[in-house]
Amino acid sequence: MATINFGYSINRPRLIDIDRNNLRKSDEILLEMPELQTCIGCGTCTASCTAGNLTDFNFRKVHTLVRRGEYAGAYEEMNKCMLCGKCRLLCPRGINTRGVVMLIKRKLGDF
């Protein structure tokens, strides 16, 4: 489209636009695992994460984004998880974190 090289382009907004995001997958995930909604964002999972200590993988952030309908890259991020289960052992809300990883991967494999 652009015929002129301006040397810059319109920056994509970092905004999470709930109105535009398709929340269907997110709703399905929460329906299957309602306990995910009880996350209080304490970050214990990420702090203990075996993969997170080696990469920038942040389980809490990824599932929070997924809940907001931001699916791009979530599957790839979740694939960094080793499923070792430390986070599940520590989660103060008792969230089945490994189940969450597998569920998100299953639901968002196409994204």
């Binding site: 907004p13 970092r14 905004l15 999470i16 636009d17 709930i18 109105d19 929460l30 309602p34 306990e35 909604q37 009880t38 209080i40 964002g41 809490r60 952030k61 929070t64 984004l65 809940r67 907001r68 931001e70 809300r93």
Partner: protein, 337 residues
Amino acid sequence: MKKRVAIIGGGVAGMQTALRLKRTGGIEPVIIEREEELGGKVRNWHVLFPTFTPAGEVLGALRSEVAAAGIEVLTGEEAEEFTDRSVKLRSERTIECDAVALCSGFTLFDATLKEEYGYGIYDNVYTSADLERMFSEGRVAMADGSAPRRIAFLHCVGSRDEKVCQRHCSKVCCITGVKQAIEMKRLFPTADVFNFYMDIRMFGPGYEELYREAQQRYNIHFVRGRISEASPMMDGRVQIKSEDTLTGRPLRMSVDMLVLLIGMRANDENGRFADKAGLTLAQSGFMQSRDLFLGNTESPRPGIFYAGAVTAPKSIGETLNEGFTAADRIAEYLGVK
């Protein structure tokens, strides 16, 4: 000769204090209430957290006990100033007494001061108090009468906000937000409910459990971030912006209803009362107790006592307990067993 105690404010704190004083047998309390009936702020509440007990049940019990005890009640009378021995009313009348219990509670924060949320400007912005009124009336709907499909609650409106000179935490709004979100979800099961919060402070018994239930059972979304502004949309709905701080990304969405969980602020007349009676105010503008640990219901002046939210935001349960404590301290002060 019975001792006489003037109780300024006929809300739950005032009624509870009066009841306890009356039961001593040696004290004759008199309640001075500005409104035409007893009950204070609780009158405007539908059900109470965390048990969803109808507010009328609590209020009804207290009122009928007050009536049964034959406690003297002056309604439609407002205290102008007072000392430990007398209360001067706005109607120029003066009540002579042996001690005063200040139970005048708090004032609801005026949400129009947070201009950016458009309360009073956009049709579908409400306060938690508006919502309670709608619950009581049995009709909750958007301004055009339709059922909301997406509702946002904003916590800490007029609390913990130096921009409106309210530095304190109003304490009860968090759990009120959770309670009202559940009520909305019960009324509109297919609606999406979002709570925008800075911190969730679940200090009381059963509160955290209710919070968890709101999340897990009612699928209420909690977004950590304060709404920065609300704007009107073409169709009368409201667009809100905040940061989803847990993902570090700005967030925008449109909602059918925006509910502002307004805080408790100090009464304007606290300053006047303090000046005239030689009392002190806390930084928050609420009355300062003699001591936060051993003299919580006492003022620095002998003969003047506090109960309830006049000293700080409190839940109804705490207020009722303070009524007992204040009455016991008054009885002790007056030498009545």
